[in-house]
Symmetry: C2
Subunit: 168 residues, 2 copies
Amino acid sequence: MWAARSSNDMIGTLSKDASEALLLSASVGRIGCTDSYRTYVVPIQYVYDGQFIYAHAVEGMKIHMMRKNPSVCFEVDEIKDVHHWKSVIVWGRYDELKNEYARYNTLLLFAKKSVQLKISPNAIPPPIDIGNDQPLEKASIRPVIFRIIIEEMTGRFENMLPEASTGK
Amino acid sequence: MWAARSSNDMIGTLSKDASEALLLSASVGRIGCTDSYRTYVVPIQYVYDGQFIYAHAVEGMKIHMMRKNPSVCFEVDEIKDVHHWKSVIVWGRYDELKNEYARYNTLLLFAKKSVQLKISPNAIPPPIDIGNDQPLEKASIRPVIFRIIIEEMTGRFENMLPEASTGK
């Protein structure tokens, strides 16, 4: 499926493999959810294991919305400039992980990705409540850990060739 | 408003000025819309003139959704890594610009921003239908031009200090 805006534009649909590759390589996406009244879009750190999209968040608007309406949209992109970008959009269902084993395994996925990306292990959400007897600045909120069960995935790209290559 | 996850985390709310500055400096945001059944999040090039967010798109899912439900969410971020980022979220209303004068002025805003960003003027949407008598590769679709009337804006940031600075 191709659409051309001019002779040197290349806009098209990403293959399933290319969409998967972008989901695997990126580490931040934007999650969109709605309570039917309003839409909420928020950037979120995630890990994709080839089947599910895992993320964590503190309790707040997006978690409340997704509990009410688990139908979500998840978007990941890689934008070099307005003519060189790719974007994957996933539709799926919010699935909160309450089981300690599933939560632990998700933290391991984040730890593994942190090592790959060479980012601080502090990016891993705290697994244990510190409790109210700790000083405020040491206190930590037990994060909500969830996954997105993918129902549909679509990817697009634009890769405009340089003007010079047209021979004009 | 501050929340600390550990003694060297800095997470907070962006000031109105800092939120405005991010909206002015960025050129790509993600628009979220819903038809109540599903949510759609898609990256979009935009210009903010200090009052409205202007964008253009070809007819498609997002335009159909926003015509049906003009309540949208618009998100812009600047992410260095998981501990150094800022994000602005705008709630507002989709307002399609059909008047030729308003459309022309929007194109001028995009042209001005393109010069600022030193990007190709091809990023500017074509203002005039080329028509069906042109070869397919030269054909162009008249874009939908719209603005978002801002109703609410909120910004957040994280700026974790390096571990070393805690003196540990």
